[in-house]
Amino acid sequence: MSDPVGGAVGLPPPFEPQPAPPHQAPALAPTRPVYDGKLSELYGIYLRHLLLMVLTLGWSRFWGRTRIRRYLWNHMAVLGDRFEYRGRGIELMVGFLIVLAILAVWAGVIWAVWHFGLHDRAVPGVDIVNLIFVSIALIGVPLAYVGQYSGLRYKLSRTRWRGIRCAMEGSSWSYGARATFLNFANAMTARLLTPVVSVNLARPRIVHARVGTQGFDFAGNVGDIYGRYVGFYFLNILAWGVAIGIAAAALGGVIERAGFGQEEIKALGDLGRLRTILLIAGAAFGAYILFGVMILPLRCWWRAYLYRYLVSHTRAGNVLFTTGISTRQMWGYLVLNYLIVLLSFGLGWPWVMHRTLRLIANELWLYGAPDGSAIGQPLDKGPRFGEGLLDMFDVSGI
């Protein structure tokens, strides 16, 4: 699959002009972030984190996460200046405990309703524990979005560049409501609203982010990307149809060639038989290969396009951003990284983080330089604690 905007390695992608900038034109000298972390050093930090996790039954995760962030942040530099991460493990733990306490209160309320209102029986076979878990799962969906935004706010507030704190404005609750509504509407319309969701959730995250007093602007419009998405959408359906057709034909061919009779096909229903186990494993592997070859590259093609669009329509004062991330690189980011983590039982996480930061450093281009003297410290210092919701309801990673 060709990549229309993919740039050669080491060269910046073509500059995509944006709507007329409100202030002075940027200097068109491109630079890239520099990442100089070493995988072995990252593994040293990660293995210690895992060791402490086992010894403390997971309670050291707040400090482990903080250490890893300190390493990653400080090994990434923009315009020659490294980032700093100044978060503390205790802040993450307190954030988690606060959310835990709130959930305990919530569970208490559910119990009170069940006990006093429903007289200890809501639905036959459903006990109070089921009720509490179901209710938490239900509120967990919107709260995960709230947690993503407030988690980003926390991380930015603990991030410094040239000694200046970053920040995030806006309400995480309004973001959570927006994200819940948009994702629900998208699910109800067979995902035809994906560009609306992508642009409208990216916008608040971009325009509310700040480096000190320097804000970001986003000039993206849903209409710009809808044509490409519709093409992707129907190609995707076609690819699924072809993949299922190939799978059915292949399965039929295998059954015919192996000379399976009616009785043997019936006998395959016996899950204990070795041949059934091997056949299921073979079919799963074949389906994965088919899915990997036909569906995922298409998805990566769309995602690469979306990322390029979002990045190239973002600016921070004089600084313009662009990326030439290709379908192949997106495959490495989305699929290969996933497989690394999955097949290594999580031990591949440092490698994935390392690969991701290298990708950012290779593929993010900045045009122009900020006027440092015009960027001041932000007035607020950010939240006192952080990421409780993210820790509770989301796969927060690092």
Binding site: G37, L50, G58, N74, G163, G272, I277, V341, W349, V395
Partner: protein, 359 residues
């Protein structure tokens, strides 16, 4: 001591704006002086007693020099120059610390991690053996009822009073002989599958299809004795504790990521199944020995297993191997085979009452 104006260079951030100034750094006995590289203008004078280092050389590529209670920072990119400054000003010696050796740390933490996992595993095995009998009966029964509601739900129970009395009398005898001090009750669920199981809190579930399948009271007695074997060893509660513990350790070493959890649950299930096979062997052995201890017929268990083999010649447990929660049936037949001696497990009248209790 002075290092000379050209010796050390750094990037100075004033903490008020995002401006950067290239500076030279000169350490004197009382202070560190920063001057602009371009015009030698004085940028800052930081008293040594107020200096601090942000970060460390293990995590930060460039630990920063700061003046306490100020937002300004100084970054000295060159590690040698940081070391030289750290050496000349003992208060900030940390600034010049060497990066720890990676190979040594990797080895140290890998070995530590493997040892911790092994230790946790051993603690879980022996800890569950030790703690399971200490879990209060009330709590065990509550957990058992929860599992019962999930597994059996609202399915009808057989209410034949004489049959139930006979069964409960039999299990009480075995439980006492096995030293089990909690209450133990039998519930007979109408119809299939051909199965029986024991839940925490001494709740013993028999399906009527199993009773229909047994040839005589001694075969049924063998099956029940096997279940009592589970109860007296607290297998249900031990199984729950081990599965929970295994999930926790897996969560800890994989970082608790949900995708890993999905894959990891496969490993947890395998471990639970391994526990299952060990528990089944122990329950078989205990069941037979309890019957012998009471002077009852102990040949029923192996005969029942032989019946199962007749129904299912391709023994799923033997084919599935490590995927099976039971040992191969042929192995169980061999391990539990006993001569047909002793008093019958149930009298004729009791057996008749049990056979008809679901009608």
């Amino acid at each position: 001591m002075s290092l000379g104006p050209s010796a050390i260079r750094g990037r100075y951030y004033d903490g008020k704006t995002a401006d950067v100034r290239e500076v030279t750094v000169v350490a004197t006995p009382g202070e560190v002086i920063l001057r602009d590289v371009a015009n030698a203008a004085l940028v800052a004078r930081w008293p040594i007693v107020e200096l601090g280092v942000l970060g460390d050389s293990e995590h930060e590529a460039v630990p920063l020099l700061v003046r306490r209670n100020e937002e300004a920072r100084l970054a000295i990119d060159d590690a040698e120059q940081r070391r030289a400054l750290g050496a000349s000003v003992p208060e900030i010696a940390r600034l010049g610390a060497q990066r720890p050796s990676t190979a040594g740390r990797l080895l140290q933490f890998s070995v530590g991690l493997a040892a911790a996992v092994a230790l946790f595993w051993v603690a879980l095995q022996s800890g569950s053996d030790l703690l399971a009998p200490l879990v209060p009966n009330r709590l065990q029964a509550r957990m058992g009822e929860g599992v019962y509601a999930q597994l059996v739900g609202q399915r009808p129970l057989c209410q034949g009073e004489k049959g139930l009395t006979a069964l409960n009398h039999f299990v009480s005898q075995l439980a006492v002989a096995g030293g089990y001090d909690g209450p133990i009750k039998v519930r007979v669920v109408k119809d299939g599958p051909i199965n029986a199981f024991t839940l925490p809190g001494g709740i013993l579930i028999l399906y009527s299809a199993l009773i229909d399948r047994t040839a005589d009271g001694n075969e049924l007695g063998g099956v029940i004795a096997h279940e009592i074997g589970h109860a007296v060893h607290y297998h249900p509660i031990k199984g729950l504790v081990r599965q929970y513990g295994t999930e926790q350790i897996l969560k800890a070493i994989t970082g608790g990521y949900s995708e890993i959890g999905t894959l990891g649950s496969g490993g947890t299930i395998l471990l639970a199944l391994r526990n299952g096979r060990a528990f089944e062997r122990e329950a078989d052995a205990t069941g037979v020995s309890l019957l012998e201890k009471l002077g009852l017929r102990a040949d029923g268990m192996s005969r029942f297993f032989e019946e199962l083999l007749k129904i299912e010649p391709h023994d799923p447990a033997a084919v599935a191997g490590i995927w099976s929660d039971h040992p191969p049936t042929a192995e169980r037949v061999a391990a539990t085979r006993r001569p047909p001696i002793g008093a019958p497990d149930f009298t004729d009248a009791e057996w008749q009452a049990i056979r008809t209790m679901c009608r």
